[in-house]
């Protein structure tokens, strides 16, 4: 039982003390048996206060510490480190949350808030009295990292980590690398194409001794924990031999009788069942689309590189960290949404492919295109529908596309049906350029989107235009381009395998939006690029390199100290009913034989300390280090006191 406890109560510069009478809290706990000192402080987290607390621990020989301040999510690590610097075991520190749970929640009732704060602090004191010192669990960390997704973010992160001497497994679900960027033939503000960017990055990784690339591969299972993740990778066959003959392969493509919609070109063209998306694509040989291949054997007749005997493979990898860069999907408009379904209504990604296919004249479905209506925020900032977020990249991408059409073709007229152009930062110059080229901007009211109809062979876009004080304006367009935003991957199974939480926008969630944008609540798993939220290429690269830096810092020392907050089994009372193993979400519990008796055993490096096993144990044989039943009961006793 601890008997020289230091209690610090934080004002949080008014965040707490505006609603909680901090002096009263301090006074009401100072007489509690075991409390050596109780002090209030303006900012407990400020460096000077931290120093003071550490000095008090040392000078006054405190044996336990309570800081009542904000959410432990924010500052538990701060003050447990202070406890350690003062010479305490950090598990003799207890954090009391009197901001999120008290002052902010009860800003309408100062007296009540103060009373609750006193209870919360008293219960923390009760718990810290019962606290026991614990030691971290030391584990070896693999100096290898799995990077999921070989789009530009994934490849960039892989290159950086490989250069730093880390063994990288780059795992791509498709049979080709490059992700969404390989579909882009022009990039805003750059003198290279998306395909060239992909090529540049691929050339840096594919011969790199530290990078192993798997294509057609997917992580289907994850076990273990930070430092030692065990991942199972399923590799689907390409049906093409590694040693292949390019001329024969081209013949094979030519003879294939199957034609399907080409999703690389967003279904505006067809491709064969044996295919590559574009000539310079990597890895530099085609694949066979097993879903659509009829196994007619025509390709085998002309090409010796085809190998239908290839089988699906499962391989096991052990990695220290996982970096997920799984990208996005473009929003797919619903039937009739802004005229979707009318033959000359296309999406922005489709339009960019069309531009790439038309050299001198812009032609779509046999007709020359002159008047183009762009409708913004399709699938983003939805009034009805779930996507309330802004997709960030599309205003700039659309304006740049428009500028390009002016440069490439004669007589183009662009009409931008927007909701407020968001060319943030330096991208403003793109907006400026489009305006100078004579593009016309029309803005809809928030709840009154433009209407697209087909009238007498023309596609008509009608809007009540905010910029002219609400005038109704109509445009007959040759082509309507729906500026579709970014969505999280439709198939987000990898997120479920890795257990990365998603936000309300369904993108993967970081630990802290402001200061920790690439780390996740799953220790050792980082996220990069557009799987975390819409981004342009440069922003994705920054995020990829940041995630690489964080993943690198996990594995670079080759060892890790893990939190010892784990479940423990009382060998004497356990009678193995198996309920704990069923409840454990991490497969940390197994049945073992101890002295002729079957009991549960907990794998310390796998247990996360979630506590799911505790309430199901009928013989009450499980206890949690750091949150023992004695500690929790002592808190309840205080909270239940009148």
């Amino acid at each position: 039982m601890k008997s020289k406890i230091g209690v610090y109560i934080c004002h949080c510069g008014g965040n707490i003390s505006d609603y909680v009478d901090v002096n009263k809290v301090r006074e009401s706990v100072k007489e509690i048996q075991g409390v050596e000192i109780s002090i209030d402080t303006m900012f407990a987290c400020a460096d000077s206060s931290q120093k003071q607390i550490a000095e008090d621990i040392a000078n006054k020989k405190l044996d336990a510490l309570v800081v009542a301040s904000c959410s432990p999510k924010l500052h538990y690590p701060t003050f447990s480190a202070v406890a350690e610097r003062g010479g305490l075991n950090k598990y003799n520190y207890v954090h009391a949350n009197i901001r999120e749970q008290v002052s902010w929640a009860h800003s309408d009732n100062k007296e009540g808030a103060t009373e609750k704060a006193i209870k919360v602090v008293k219960s923390a004191i009760a718990r810290v009295k019962e606290s026991v010192p614990l030691e971290p669990i030391e584990v070896k960390a693999q100096k290898s990292i799995a990077v999921l997704g070989a789009g530009v973010a994934g490849m960039r992160a892989a290159k950086e980590l490989a250069d730093l001497g880390i063994q990288v497994y780059l795992i791509e679900r498709e049979h080709f690398v490059g992700g969404r960027i390989s579909q882009l033939d022009f990039l805003c503000g750059a003198d290279i194409t998306g395909k060239e960017l992909v090529t540049q990055l691929y050339e840096k990784i594919h011969k790199h001794p530290n990078v192993t690339l798997f294509t057609g591969a997917e992580v289907i299972e994850k076990g273990g924990s930070i430092g030692n993740f065990k991942v199972k990778v399923k590799i689907t066959p390409r049906y093409i031999k590694d040693e292949c003959n390019p001329e024969q392969l081209q013949k094979a493509i030519d003879v294939c009788p199957v034609e399907v919609e080409d999703d690389f070109n967003f279904n505006i063209t067809k491709r064969k069942a044996i295919y590559r998306n574009y000539d310079s694509e990597y890895p530099h040989f085609p694949t066979i689309d097993s879903k659509n291949c009829t196994r007619c054997g025509e390709c085998e007749k002309v090409c010796s590189s085809i190998d239908f005997t290839q089988k699906e493979e499962i391989i096991d990898l052990t990695v220290g960290s996982i970096l997920a860069a799984t990208g996005f999907d473009p929003y797919q408009p619903k039937e009739n949404e802004f005229g979707w379904g009318i033959e000359n209504v296309v999406t922005l990604p489709q339009f960019r492919r069309i531009i790439n296919m038309c050299d001198n004249k812009l032609i779509y479905k046999g007709k020359e295109i002159k008047d183009i209506a762009y409708i913004y925020c399709v699938g983003s900032r939805q009034v009805e529908g779930d996507n309330k977020y802004c997709s960030r990249y599309c205003c700039t991408a659309t304006l740049y596309t428009s500028i390009l059409t002016h440069k490439k073709y004669k007589g183009i007229h662009s009409f931008h049906f927007n909701r407020g152009i968001r060319t943030y930062g330096k991208q403003e110059v793109i907006y400026d350029e489009a305006s100078r080229l004579g593009d016309i901007f029309l803005q809809s009211y928030e709840y009154d989107p433009p209407v697209v109809t087909k009238v007498n062979g023309k596609t008509n876009v009608k809007i009540e235009d905010l910029l002219t004080g609400g005038k109704e304006i109509e445009v007959n367009a040759d082509l309507v381009v729906l500026v579709t935003g970014m969505e999280p991957r439709n198939d987000c199974s990898i997120g479920d395998v890795l257990k990365i939480p998603k936000g309300r926008d369904r993108f993967y969630n970081e630990i802290h939006m402001k200061l920790r944008p690439v780390e996740t609540v799953i220790d050792g798993v980082t996220i990069a690029g557009a799987c975390q939220g819409p981004k342009n290429i440069m922003e994705s690269m920054n995020s990829a390199l940041s995630a690489a830096a964080k993943s690198y810092s996990i594995v670079n020392k080759g060892e890790l100290a893990l939190e010892p907050i784990i479940a423990k089994v009382d060998k004497d009372t356990c009678v193995w009913c198996g309920k704990c193993a069923e409840a454990c979400p991490f497969d940390a519990i197994t049945k073992v034989n101890a002295n002729g008796k079957e009991i549960a055993e907990i794998n310390a490096s796998v247990c996360k300390g979630c506590g799911m096993c505790l309430p199901v144990c009928e013989s009450d044989s499980i206890d949690m280090d750091g949150f023992t039943n004695t500690e929790i009961e002592s808190m309840i006793n205080v909270l239940a006191e009148n």
Binding site: A46, L74, A190, Y424, E428, R504, D505, E539, A549, N556
Partner: protein, 439 residues
């Protein structure tokens, strides 16, 4: 912690100890690199430590900055020097750098100062407090602000009368008027430039009346009024100390405005104004808040939702550029603007106006480098030589840029940019150790 035992060799020199420089320094030090982190200011933490809350999470800015600042101060591989600048940076043939480091005297021995503030009480000189953006005064012997790091006194020698009152009051004898400028050379393998930004000076737009009309303030002044370390404990308008009940925000003050030489968008003002509006709704429940804007740039994660939340709380958004502000006798202000949604030129009265000032690149960075040229872009930000593949690279091999020094950006983007800079810097250091680098 200030370190007088100056090691002359470092792996990295990080210039600027704001959130970007701090993050880059921590990333590098966490993988075993020795870092010299310098800032020309008296404290680390940059602009972020001065803010009230951050969008869109509404976290208290001081509360989330202080742990970083504290981690930096305690890190065994980071040496932090305040009041310090680098110059004469020379790249040697082997790819490493030499730099001259100059520390201005603080006239206080930081390691002995307990932050007791007795010198402040004793000092008879009152001047404008730059850390509160001129809202209140401070002494010539002063601690910058309560969560400054280091939390130690400094003497503002330009305003000091050398009366000696502070020296007599100081219980630890840490005030020392004999301190002089310290200069020393360092060698390092890489340089990260994280020199941040400055705010637009609204007196350059005389028709808004800043500096002439007392109740026209800048957004940073409002930020200070809303911060936990705020000077008044409530929001007051300067002319008469009245609590305002009808506040206007003029967005794009000094951004997207070619007449003042800034054609680009500052990327943060829409959101910080929206955030301040939400905080004001909480602090002054009866007040009306109106934002006059061109376009609301709510583009980042959670931003558009945050903007929608402000609208649903009752913040009024008026699309229209404010042309002119005039002052009434009672200190109220008349805003003249074209209300785009009606197409009419309109005048509206408010009792306080906040100018949402934009951000500008800090000047003078290129002059730090002697034998290599640090290129700037057309907007005077540090030019990114390979923005799509390596956004942190500059025109000098081995010199990387982090945060707003390369472009306007918000806090998460600064963190990501710092992550990229530190990642590339770590790789550069590694390359130097394994092979000769061509420069």
């Amino acid at each position: 912690m200030q370190d007088n035992n100056k090691v002359k060799e470092y792996d990295a020199l990080v210039i600027g100890a704001g959130i970007a420089g701090g993050e880059a320094a921590l990333n590098l030090a966490n993988v075993g690199n020795r870092v010299l982190l310098i800032d020309k200011d008296l404290t680390v933490g940059g602009k972020m430590i001065m803010l009230s809350k951050v969008f869109p999470t509404l976290d208290c800015s001081a509360c989330i900055t202080t742990p970083k600042v504290s981690e930096i101060a305690r890190h065994s591989l980071i040496t932090t020097l305040t009041s310090t600048e680098a110059s004469d940076i020379v790249q040697k043939d082997n790819g490493t750098f030499e730099a001259l480091i100059t520390t201005q005297p603080r006239y206080v021995h930081i390691e002995d100062c307990t932050g007791c503030q007795l010198c402040e009480e004793a000092c008879p000189v009152n001047v404008e407090d730059e850390y509160q953006y001129g809202l209140v005064g401070r002494k010539a012997a002063f601690i910058p602000f309560s969560i400054a790091s280091p939390r130690a006194a400094a003497i503002d020698i330009e305003n000091c009368t050398l009366c000696g009152a502070c020296e007599r009051a100081c219980p630890t004898n840490c005030i020392d008027f004999t301190q002089t400028v310290e200069k020393f050379m360092i060698e390092c393998k890489t340089v990260i430039v994280a020199t941040g930004f400055q705010l637009f000076d609204p007196t350059l737009i005389p028709r808004y009346g800043y500096g002439r009309f007392k109740n026209v303030i800048t957004s940073m002044q409002m930020e200070r009024q809303l911060a936990p370390t705020r000077p008044f404990n409530t929001v007051l308008r300067p002319s008469d100390g009245k609590i305002p009940d009808n506040i206007a925000y003029v967005l794009c003050t000094g951004s997207r405005d070619k007449t003042v030489g800034t054609p680009i968008c500052s990327q943060v003002c829409c959101m910080y104004s929206t955030k301040q509006a939400q905080l004001l709704m909480g602090a002054l429940p009866m007040a009306d808040i109106t934002l006059y804007f061109l376009h609301i740039r709510a583009f980042g994660k959670g931003f558009n939702e945050f903007y929608a939340q402000a609208q649903s709380m009752g913040v009024e958004y008026v699309k229209g550029k404010v042309a002119k502000i005039t002052e009434k006798e009672d200190g109220n202000l008349i805003l003249r603007y074209e209300d785009i949604s009606t197409g009419k030129v309109t005048e509206t009265e408010h009792d306080m106006v906040v100018l949402s000032v934009g951000i500008l690149p800090n000047q003078g960075i290129t002059g730090l480098f002697k034998n290599r040229k640090l290129e700037l872009d057309q907007f005077n930000y540090i030019s990114q030589s390979n923005p799509l593949e390596s956004p942190a690279t500059t025109s000098i091999k081995g010199v990387f840029v982090a945060g707003v020094a390369s472009a306007p950006m918000d806090i998460p983007d600064s963190i990501l940019s710092a992550g990229a800079a530190s990642s590339e810097a770590a790789n550069y250091i590694r390359q130097l150790s394994v092979k000769q680098v061509e420069v």
